[in-house]
Symmetry: C2
Subunit: 207 residues, 2 copies
């Protein structure tokens, strides 16, 4: 499965994916390129260090013209023959038209146990609410904010004295496992959407 990865920042989930690929844990995932909406995203260097092509579709040049920005991203992904998209810390909202064009082919990783704490600053939301357990969720992207069908979730405890940073770091460790596992399942064709439920078919060993 040919995959494009969208990033905005440090790209640690991209790094987890590329490291897993290098270690031959994702034999069926063919990463075609990383696309950043920010020209200075450190994740671009990570992509290059793994020999992955990069593209920058600078969001600041498309202010107020999201649909055009989306179309530029769509174009570069299709030029590279991508079949699915991984949002790995991509911080710009994708429009409904883009999402419809990639229906059930965009996955996102979110740092909470959805449906709790969708949207920005999920870790801060969790701390302010006072939950004892949080985690991360890999889900398909639909038109809502972090509302799409869930592929998998991993949990972490919220500990006494946690700050937003300490909780985010603990969740990030699980994100790296979760995104690799989700891309493995997806690339093996084992992820089936039924309504808003995701069924993961038990695959034999692949690769």
């Amino acid at each position: 499965m040919k995959l494009g990865v969208l990033i905005s920042g440090r790209g640690s989930n991209l790094q987890a994916l590329l490291a897993a690929k290098k270690e031959e844990r994702l034999p069926l995932a063919d990463f075609r390129l990383a696309v950043s909406n920010k020209p200075d995203a450190p994740g671009l260097d990570i992509a290059r260090s793994f020999g992955l092509r990069t593209a920058v579709i600078d969001g600041s040049k498309y202010r107020g013209r999201r649909a055009e920005h989306d179309r530029a991203i769509d174009q570069v992904l299709r030029e590279h023959e991508c079949e699915a998209i991984v949002l790995a810390g991509y911080m710009r909202v994708l429009g409904a038209e883009f999402i419809a064009g990639w229906r059930n082919r965009i996955i996102n990783i979110h740092p909470s146990l959805l449906p709790s704490f969708p949207g920005l600053h999920a870790q801060r939301q969790a701390l302010e609410y006072g939950v004892r357990t949080s985690g991360c969720t890999v889900h398909f992207v639909d038109e809502g904010t972090d509302t799409g069908p869930i592929i998998l979730q991993r949990t972490v405890p919220v500990l006494p004295g946690d700050t937003e940073d300490s909780l985010a770091a603990r969740i990030l460790v699980e994100e790296h496992h979760a995104i690799v596992e989700a891309v493995a399942l997806l690339s093996q064709g084992r992820v089936n959407i039924e309504g808003r439920s995701v069924r993961v078919s038990s695959g034999g060993r692949v690769g």
Copy 2:
């Protein structure tokens, strides 16, 4: 700490508490009585089998007069010198006046990872949403529906083929652990509310 337990049904969480008490795992919890809003709640027999006093404040005799029902419950709890209340599958909504009279002294157990899936049929809500992880939450009761400060949470996986019953049964096992642990902490005076966060102070061994 003198405790009253409110039930409506089978009373399996009450049973977990009384069994833990019998096994001397809750040395500082002094269960004073179980109160049911239903005269035929099987939990009443469980209470009696452990030698616990019971009271029935029959909700059906107070239709449209919730405040009166609440006052009758309040009275019997105070007659038995209760200092705090455990809602163990209590299915009737308590009014704001009652809650204010027991501010930060009522705990409830809810079969989801709040704030996801508050209210009725939490397990069904979780299945319909398609989460991969659920669990239970012990929290203080405030005027909202399952919105009060969280004491602890325990997680369970949602498995392929789960029904409402199978998921509920898996969560219930964790509820029994969670309610005992929460009452242990509460009775040891180790649960401190700060805003909407709960701080659990590290206690030495008690009892």
